[in-house]
């Protein structure tokens, strides 16, 4: 049972799931940090990204990498548009108003997709070069597995540099401390928020494309469960904290995959329950998450 190759396979699996959860969790945490909005429509950005990738792969005579690039840009733009139309008018209203609106956006996307594309899951056929298996570092894995991890890590490094070094990155961090005072610095916070939504939705699109590639399937509700898990990951890491979202994502990926791998089959069906138990335990010990700082009341 517990052969080395089985363990390695599970390890790769966990890295994959963790990478995807981390990408989705970062997007949630970036938006939450600035607007204190738990964006329930975030998982649906994965779905839109995955459908777009499917469309590019199956009907357009374009190279395979465009099946990643096109969804990223289109979904980033969609994220900005949704913020402009749905969330910005509610700025200054109680936080719960925006939260409910995001539920409505989510429902709109899921049901819109069901009506126009049917609820029937569609198979995703990856290009042959992504399906083949390779031997590297003494491990045998599919190229797609490597792509998922490499892409996620590269994006996370790029985002960290962006947030550390660029002016707009500094402004994003300033906004997550205090939006009003950031305005007093002469910063147009609407622009900062638009950039945050573009990044958030763009990363979710990547995650959606990777997820559909890994599981080979797309359906209108595919973003719901990973979106929820990513929320758990973001909270475990300390919501609003970007490194926390990465940590939480990988932690969750490993916990979930190894739970299924090591528990007897009659228990492993409770993987989702296990995820939430993990959340409860972390929050009992560290109420602000692993890397979170205690929320100070904002004026």
């Amino acid at each position: 049972m517990l052969t080395p190759s089985y363990l390695i396979q599970q390890f790769i699996n966990a890295l994959n799931m963790g990478s995807i959860y981390a990408l989705v969790a970062i997007g949630l945490t970036v938006v939450y940090g600035i607007l204190r909005l738990i964006n329930f429509a975030h998982g649906d950005m994965m779905t839109v990204g995955a459908y777009l990738a499917l469309a590019v792969l199956s009907s357009l005579a374009l190279p395979a990498w465009t099946a990643l690039l096109i969804p990223v840009f289109v979904v980033a733009a969609l994220g900005v548009l949704i913020e402009r139309l749905a969330y910005r008018p509610l700025r200054g209203a109680p936080e719960v108003a925006m939260l409910i609106t995001s539920l409505a956006v989510s429902s709109l996307i899921e049901n819109g997709a069901t009506m126009t594309l049917t609820a029937q899951p569609r198979p995703v056929r990856l290009p042959a070069e992504l399906v083949q298996r390779v031997d590297a570092l003494g491990i045998n894995f599919a190229v797609m597995d490597g792509v998922i991890v490499a892409l996620a890590v590269a994006l996370m490094i790029a985002l960290s540099l962006f947030v550390r070094r660029t002016t707009i990155g500094i402004a994003m961090r300033a906004c997550s401390e205090n939006v009003r005072v950031t305005q007093l610095m002469g910063i147009d916070v609407n622009r900062v928020i638009a950039v945050a939504f573009a990044i958030s939705a763009g990363l979710a699109a990547v995650a959606g494309v990777l997820w559909s590639g890994k599981f080979g399937i797309v359906d209108p509700f595919m973003g719901f469960v990973p979106g929820l898990k990513a929320f758990v990951a973001a909270v475990i890491g300390g919501i609003g904290n970007i490194p926390g979202a990465m940590l939480g994502g990988y932690l969750l990926g490993f916990a979930e995959v190894f739970f299924v791998a090591f528990m007897p089959p009659e228990v492993s069906g409770y993987r989702d329950a296990f995820v939430f138990v993990l959340l409860l335990v972390v929050l009992l010990v560290r109420p602000s998450g692993l890397l979170g700082t205690r929320e100070v009341n904002r004026a």
Partner: protein
């Protein structure tokens, strides 16, 4: 330079400013004094655009500010250094300073202003890469003022710069304010410490429960028996 006419501001249903009018001329230091809740901070908050007045006008060199977004007001040269320092604790000192200059395009000017801030507050140069949250209260106030200078103010709105600071630090801050005036920055100063404020200012307005109770040259107010009794401890 700045002309405020009959300003009415509400916090929800609380009528906080009930028709405040005031003038600030170029090169002046004008003090707003008054007790807690008189409307001093509210006035500054309305000037920087964070609070919108229900009625009344705010003109800065013939331009109406009441509809302008906050960041545009800053770009006109009205820079608000808020009460309680409000530095970004999880940004480094240099990031706080850089952020305040982010809307400017003149690289050489930004470098000059940064040097000027370091000259005024040498401790900030030493703490350059430290998180602002690790600074002492006095250092944070220096950073807050330094940050405001990085936005290149023509009119600086200073809210309680001496609040909660040790006497030596307060003296240092007030010295810097005088230096700024000599450099041609116009200042609207809110202070609880009416004695210090009147010593420094050219003119002053005394606010009471949302009204301008009296105003005039600072030295005249300092000698006014009523002002003395109410704000200068007799």
């Amino acid at each position: 330079m700045l002309s405020v006419q009959d300003l009415h501001v509400y916090y929800g249903r609380i009528h906080a400013l009930k028709g405040v009018s005031l003038e600030v001329h170029a090169g002046e230091i004008v003090a707003l004094i008054g007790s807690n809740g008189a409307g001093k901070t509210t006035t500054l908050t309305a000037l920087s655009g964070l609070l919108r007045p229900r009625s009344g006008s705010i003109r800065f060199e013939a331009q109406d500010l009441t509809r302008l977004p906050v960041h545009q007001i800053v770009r006109l040269g009205i820079v608000h250094c808020p009460e309680g320092r409000q530095v970004f604790a999880r940004l480094s000192v240099i990031e706080n300073l850089r952020l305040a200059a982010a809307h400017r395009a003149d690289r050489a000017g930004i470098a000059r202003d940064l040097q000027r801030v370091y000259d005024l507050f040498p401790i900030l140069a030493q703490r350059r890469d430290q998180y602002a949250g690790t600074l002492s209260g006095g250092e944070q106030q220096m950073l807050a003022i330094g940050r405001a200078l990085m936005s290149r103010p023509r009119l600086l709105l200073l809210d309680e710069p001496s609040l909660g600071l040790a006497p030596l630090v307060v003296e240092n801050i007030f010295r810097v304010i005088e230096t700024l005036r000599r450099d041609g920055v116009t200042i609207l100063l809110v202070e609880q410490n009416a004695y210090q404020a009147l010593r420094l200012a050219d003119r002053a307005y005394v606010l009471e429960t949302g009204y301008v109770k009296t105003h005039g040259p600072a030295h005249a107010l300092a000698d006014d028996p009523a002002v003395k009794a109410a704000y200068l401890g007799g």
